[in-house]
């Protein structure tokens, strides 16, 4: 039997009607269309589905959505604000902390949960913490570099991202004007 509840995701409240056996992962992806959270192993081992609930890192593939009513849920979609990336997101680009990117939202959420609680972890603490998030592409070195860059303030403040320009240099109508010879 479906029941109605309110989920607070990334600071926004969503009223959802769901079966009580629905997992948070399914509700985020299928009901709310927040597909940044990924399914990897379905048994809470790989960390691809990591989200943060009331400050704690959890596997959304093992969490019943119904139990999340009234709690603050953070997903990868909530990190970038007004088109500006979270420092961890920047670091993962700058230091190459991903290849295929399927585990990346989970990696970034896991790192965020750690740094929210302990902004200055040692490299050993980061390794231990991040070992719950599997990656098959990178060998983890660049993920570690990315997280440590944030810990040590080594991200480039002037780093420019490969992001589309949002204002065209050329006015659209100008496109059709003939180009004058320069001679």
């Amino acid at each position: 039997m479906k029941r109605s509840l309110i989920l607070n995701v990334n600071g926004e409240e969503h009223e959802v009607e769901i079966e009580p056996n629905r997992l948070l992962l399914q509700v985020l992806r299928d009901t709310l269309g927040l597909t940044g959270t990924k399914e990897g192993c379905s048994i809470g081992v790989c960390g691809a589905c990591s989200v943060i609930i009331d400050g704690r890192l959890v596997s959304s593939c093992l969490t019943l959505a119904a139990g999340c009513a009234g709690k603050k849920i953070e997903t990868i979609e909530g990190l970038a604000k007004d088109g500006k990336l979270h420092p961890l997101q920047q670091a993962f680009i700058e230091y190459g902390g991903f290849q295929c990117g399927i585990c990346t939202p989970g990696q970034i959420m896991a790192a965020k949960a750690l740094l929210d609680e302990n902004p200055k972890p040692s490299e050993e603490e980061v390794k231990e913490w991040m070992s719950g998030n599997l990656c098959r592409c990178t060998g983890y070195y660049k993920i570690l570099d990315s997280v440590m860059a944030v810990v040590n303030g080594k991200t480039d403040p002037n780093y420019t991202f490969r992001k589309r320009e949002t204002t065209a240099k050329i006015q659209s109508l100008d496109v059709y004007k003939p180009v004058a010879k320069t001679s």
Binding site: K38, E94, V175
Partner: protein
């Protein structure tokens, strides 16, 4: 020599072109693609390793409310298909040959209903005796996996170059041993999946996370019995490939059959368990006997290798993989006389196939240990044995592989320096040892007919940005970034001004896809040629505008000008617009092709399989706890020769990721199969390395230039998966004097070997 300083984009530390989408979670992987009205597919799989199917009753399932289609082999044309041998069906015809084989499937409005419907399908099974071991399977009277394959032999090869008997007779020292490798799963964090739709006009549109779109289209068209043009494959973002997503499995075909019958799009995504049972085709497991003859001075005089490869129930790419295991390594050292015998044998287990390394990890696990045995027997430092025998530029292997660039000796020097080989060996500590191995890989492989090429199209948009249309297989490795760099370098524009499409068989030209470490080399050359073509068009137009000769023009930083007169320049946008918006106007669009200068191996397997060969050396320092058998890798170093490094962040990632898979292969990974039934098909029992399992690593690239590569580049992707298991085992031998001969090298096996050690004396 790789002089990347002279390039403005190639070799620069650029960011990944699709990086923004990856870190925000906006990349659309296969599970994220949602078409209106999409049904959910589920598959009924064989619970038996070998069974006859007398009858399938789908009536109860079809009647369940919410079910839109139930399909069996009767809904297909029952035409067998496969990469090299047509031996598998979309859905079982008459019998099943391994646990997990697709028998029937349903499409329903939600997953719960689809799963309930699967339970309602009734199958009248007759379990048959199975074969689970390659050597048992070859015996007379063993059950046959395929009735038309006597003794279950799928493929056999036996060839000799030179005079092997004489070469062994002339050897001063002969070593011989047998090494067994294990199946290894790709374990991409994203499983295989597809979203298929069928239009009444007869067209299949299939979204797939495949790394080889056009090969997928060909195989899907064959199995469905339609022309290629009736099938459109659109690539989603791919969450890791490693060879596993090269369409040797039935996922997309089952989705297509369901979509046609249901008249609605069908999404079929493998669960993690299904991925292990019947998704990506795991590494072919092999038993390899190696016999090497050496001269006293350390030169290898003779090599005889015997490979018995377990094919599983269907062949996929295993025939080519077995050939690579038997022959590829002969391009690593300067061999003269070699003999190779290989048997590929059907069993009632999961079909095996392509996984990063393609036979090479199994071969290097065996051969690089045999070399180490020889070094110990001769009393020569293993690194010197490697130096004495290392291939060099100009080497032609006994099988015809022509080496146009090779910095293996430089890699040996680099690895030696990084790990402090001499000093550490001189100051040997108890239970600690150093090991190394050399490796070779290809940059493309000529085996899908007489073609190992690529093609690309580049168009210039009105705003001056270039868009590459490529049908190749970006599967997470980052090749799109390398392709954008190559195009930017050739066009003389900034990397930010080049974009690239995802592959789509209706929109992009024919490309073979991601395998054999081919893309940077093969598709890089095609993209470079396309960019040259575009540049010619731009210069022709610009010459008219600048009243100059096209030959006198050059482009830099997005500006086109007469050499020496940079002050008067045009932007790419100015030129593209001028070419378009006028009488007889046309957009600037160019295409380029490339086919490697390799030679299709003949009936005796003599040829030149690739356009370029990449080399490397890995070395490790390990400590073994003699009380627990635990192996701790203290240091790991890698030197790689991939020609010019185009995309440093990506190239480093390939090295590091290859090592992680190599460490898993060496120490923890291996699917346990009991009487044909996998018993650990999940991530908690099949353990891939995590962050804390990775050792301290130093790695570097050789100063190298491949004359046939784009800006001197060649392949890299598989190289550093290949030798790792041998490196670790050679170091373990140096540390504690025992050698485990079956993968994975577990603490239990080491302890057993240590216990048996005194008795050997």
């Amino acid at each position: 020599m790789a002089k990347t300083e002279k390039y403005s984009v190639v070799g620069q530390r650029v960011q990944r072109v699709e990086g923004f989408d990856k870190v925000t979670g906006e990349s659309k992987f296969i599970a994220d693609i949602q078409l209106p009205g999409t049904l959910i597919g589920r598959v009924l799989r064989s619970p038996y390793p070998h069974a006859r199917i007398h009858r399938i009753d789908t009536s109860k399932a079809a009647k369940l409310s919410g079910v839109r289609a139930v399909v069996t082999a009767e809904d297909t044309i029952k035409r067998p298909w496969g990469a090299f041998f047509a031996d598998q069906y979309i859905l079982s015809v008459g019998k099943t040959r391994y646990v997990g084989e697709e028998v029937a499937a349903v499409a329903a409005i939600d997953p719960d209903i689809a799963e309930e419907a699967i339970d309602l399908i009734e199958v009248d099974w007759e379990p048959l005796p199975g074969v689970f071991d390659a050597e048992e399977a070859m015996k007379d009277g063993a059950p046959l996996v395929h009735e038309d394959k006597p003794n279950n032999i799928a493929m056999q090869m036996d060839l000799e170059r030179g005079n092997i008997a004489q070469a062994f007779a002339e050897s001063d020292v002969i070593v011989e041993d047998t090494f067994t490798s294990m199946p290894q799963w790709h374990c991409s964090i994203e499983t295989i999946g597809s979203v298929a739709e069928y239009s009444t006009s007869g067209k299949y549109t299939i979204y797939m996370n495949t790394q080889t779109l056009f090969n997928a289209r060909y195989r899907i068209a064959t199995a469905l019995g339609v022309p290629e043009s009736n099938v459109r494959i659109i690539q989603s973002a791919v969450g890791g490939g490693f060879g596993g997503k090269s369409c040797d499995d039935n996922n997309a075909l089952v989705a297509a059959v369901l979509a046609k019958k249901a008249g609605k799009p069908v999404k079929l995504i493998n669960s993690r368990e299904e991925e292990f049972l019947a998704g990506c085709r795991p590494r072919v497991f092999m038993k390899i006997n190696v016999r090497l003859g050496f001269k006293k001075n350390g030169r290898i005089r003779a090599k005889h290798i015997k490979v018995i490869a377990d094919n599983g129930a269907y062949s996929a790419k295993a025939p080519a993989i077995t050939g690579v295991a038997a022959m590829r390594h002969d391009t690593c050292y300067k061999y003269t006389d070699v003999k190779t015998e290989a048997l590929l044998v059907y069993t009632n287990k999961i079909p095996t196939g392509a996984f990063r390394g393609f036979g090479n990890p199994s071969a290097e696990w065996a051969v690089e240990q045999a070399i180490d045995l020889g070094a110990h027997e001769l009393g020569i430092d293993p690194i010197e044995i490697a130096r004495i025998n290392a291939a060099e530029t100009g080497y032609v292997s006994p099988h015809g592989n022509r080496v146009t660039s090779c910095e293996l000796k430089q890699c040996l020097d680099m690895a030696e320096r990084m790990i402090e080989w001499k000093a550490k060996r001189a100051a040997k500590r108890p239970n600690t040892g150093l090991g190394l191995a050399c490796t070779v890989h290809v940059s493309g492989k000529r085996h899908f007919g007489d073609y190992d090429g690529s093609s690309a199209t580049i168009k210039i948009n009105e705003d001056g940005k270039a868009l590459i249309l490529s049908g190749e297989g970006e599967c997470g490795q980052g090749v799109h970034t390398a392709m954008c760099q190559i195009a930017a370098e050739e066009l003389g524009v900034a990397i930010e001004d080049v974009e690239i499409s995802r592959a789509d068989t209706d929109l992009t030209t024919f490309c073979l896809g991601a395998f054999a470490s081919r893309l940077t080399y093969v598709s890089g050359n095609a993209v470079k040629n396309a960019a040259t073509n575009v540049k010619e068009q731009l210069f022709e137009q610009a010459a008219e505008m600048l009243e100059a000769n096209p030959q006198d023009l050059m482009s830099r930083d997005g500006k086109i000008f007469v050499q020496g007169a940079e002050g008067k320049s045009l932007t790419v946008s100015d030129v593209a617009r001028a070419r378009l918006f006028r009488h007889n106007g046309a957009p600037i669009v160019g295409s380029g092709s490339f086919d490697a200068d390799s030679v299709l191996p003949d009936s005796t397997r003599f040829g030149n399989e690739s356009g370029a060969y990449n080399y490397g050396v890995q070395a490790a320092e390990v400590h073994v706890d003699p009380d627990t058998g635990q192996v701790k890798i203290l240091n790991f170093v890698i030197a790689s020769d991939c020609g010019t490094v185009i995309y440093p962040l990506g190239a480093e990632g390939q090295v590091e990721g290859g090592l992680a898979q190599g460490i898993g292969y060496a120490l923890t990974e291996g699917l346990q199969i009991d009487e044909g039934k996998p018993i650990n098909p999940n991530f908690s029992d099949y353990r891939i390395p995590s962050m804390r399992d990775m050792p301290p690593l130093q790695h570097a690239f050789a100063d190298s230039y491949e004359p046939t590569g784009p800006f001197g580049a060649k392949g890299l992707g598989e190289l550093n998966m290949d030798p790792t298991a041998a490196v670790i085992n050679n170091a373990i031998f140096e540390a504690v004097g025992v050698r485990v001969k079956t993968l994975p090298i577990t603490p239990e096996k080491i302890l057993r070997a240590l216990k048996e050690k005194p008795r050997e004396k």
